[in-house]
């Protein structure tokens, strides 16, 4: 009996020691949304996603340092022609998206950041671009480029790596987000909101055909041919500079059945 009690106490201690500190209290709230355009089973599509971050008090969150976006199983990368060229990170940072081949563009978006001084509703970074970067260990790499002009004049490039996933999710985009200082020597800015696309919408690629440069629309990643019960799941986890973390999930509804 005393051995059983000792084992119980040991097990309880083990469970407590394995529980991550961030699980004790979540100080940030996250919301995630995702959609497909078009939303048709088996069709190449543009993935539209975005997230909003804030503290439980409704304030700007600590600076974001890590983002892991998980995408549904069955997304078909087999025939996509996105990312036919590669953009070098140094060229992207030096010249912006103009320094990248047109055929490396994957999507675009915008972000809302908050500087940790003064009072304001945040400041928009109107230009966030996604391009294909050099692969790492065989994994697809998405380079994000944000061009902030005012009040934060900073151009930053950071990479997300597409890794295989398991279960309900087929792949995940793991991204380490660099810190952006608001002013030289000042505190880092907080990312409040990001909207972005990954897909062919509004993208134009070029190919050479019989000696002529011909424009064409790339083919996107295809939506799974079957929709799981409840829709296509998306999930994201967020890590912050102060070591805290939070997560959010959403689903894209199954498209209506075609008659």
């Amino acid at each position: 009996m005393s051995r059983l009690a000792a084992l119980t106490v040991l097990a309880a201690m083990l469970v407590c020691s394995l529980t991550p500190p961030a699980a004790h209290a979540v100080s940030e709230l996250a919301s995630l949304h995702a959609s497909f355009s078009p939303n048709r089973l088996g069709a190449p599509t543009t993935i539209i996603f975005g997230f909003h971050l804030q503290t439980v008090e409704g304030q700007a969150p600590p600076p974001l340092t890590a983002l892991d976006l998980r995408m549904p199983a069955g997304m078909n990368y087999t025939t996509t022609t996105l990312g036919l060229s590669i953009c070098q990170p140094a060229s992207l940072l030096a010249n912006g998206v103009a320094g990248c081949p047109p055929n490396s563009r994957l999507g675009y978006g915008s972000a809302l950041v908050e500087v940790p001084f003064g009072v304001g509703a945040g400041h928009e970074i109107p230009e966030v671009q996604a391009v294909a970067g050099p692969s790492r260990a065989g994994n697809l790499v998405v380079l994000f480029y944000a061009n902030g002009l005012f009040p934060v004049s900073a151009q930053l490039s950071f990479a997300g790596e597409v890794l295989p996933d398991t279960g309900r999710f087929g792949s995940q985009l793991q991204t380490n987000v660099p810190l952006v200082t608001s002013v030289p020597g000042g505190p880092d800015v907080s990312i409040v909101n990001v909207q972005s696309t990954i897909g062919p919408a509004h993208l134009i690629y070029y190919k050479h055909l019989h000696g002529r440069r011909v424009a064409f629309h790339p083919r996107g990643v295809a939506i799974p041919e079957r929709c799981p019960r409840g829709g296509f799941p998306f999930a994201a986890s967020f890590g912050f500079q102060d070591g805290s973390a939070t997560s959010a999930s959403t689903t894209v509804p199954c498209p209506p059945r075609r008659r």
């Binding site: 078909n76 990368y77 036919l84």
Partner: protein
């Protein structure tokens, strides 16, 4: 009675002679045919290059057809199945004259710009005709996919028995 015994003995001699002659003919035949058709299996190096084009795709599978050149030549078919963002499996069928070979491969898959490459191993699963005893494993299976046209170039190298 004696005469009958002589006849039986004579028949035995004739059958033995015929059997010996048959063996000689068989040996001559075996010596004249290619190694792959020999009754005893023989190990040899396979070094194949295939150039294929897309014939259809269904879901995660690209169906490709083309020609293989190398140790054995013939029509080649590959069903390339993209398992995940960085892994493919493949069924490879080669139809040289007088038989066929079927192999199964698993490889890492690395899309990079307009070309995706794969690198892995293949095993010979079965054969028919001249290659009905075909077997082998751990053969190198590498190649590229042109992402615009889905044209595939594949290299298979290694030792196999047939």
């Amino acid at each position: 009675m004696v005469g009958v015994e002589r006849d039986v003995s004579s028949h035995r001699v004739n059958r033995r002679t015929a059997f010996t002659a048959g063996l000689c003919v068989l040996a001559a035949m075996l010596a004249s045919v290619s190694p792959a058709t020999a009754l005893a299996s023989r190990t040899f190096s396979l070094n194949e290059t295939g150039h294929l084009h897309l014939t259809s795709h269904h879901g995660f599978t690209l169906n490709e057809q083309g020609s293989a050149l190398g140790t054995i030549s013939g029509t080649i078919y590959i069903h390339l199945h993209v398992v995940s963002t960085n892994r493919v499996t493949a069924e490879v069928n080669i139809y040289p004259r007088g038989g066929s070979l079927t192999g199964y491969a698993s490889a890492s898959y690395r899309p990079s710009g307009s070309v995706a490459s794969f690198n892995g191993t293949m095993s010979i699963g079965r054969g028919s005709g001249r290659y009905n005893r075909a077997h082998g494993s751990g053969l190198s299976f590498t190649g590229t996919i042109q992402r615009v046209s889905d044209a595939v170039t594949v290299h298979v190298n290694g030792r196999m028995s047939a």
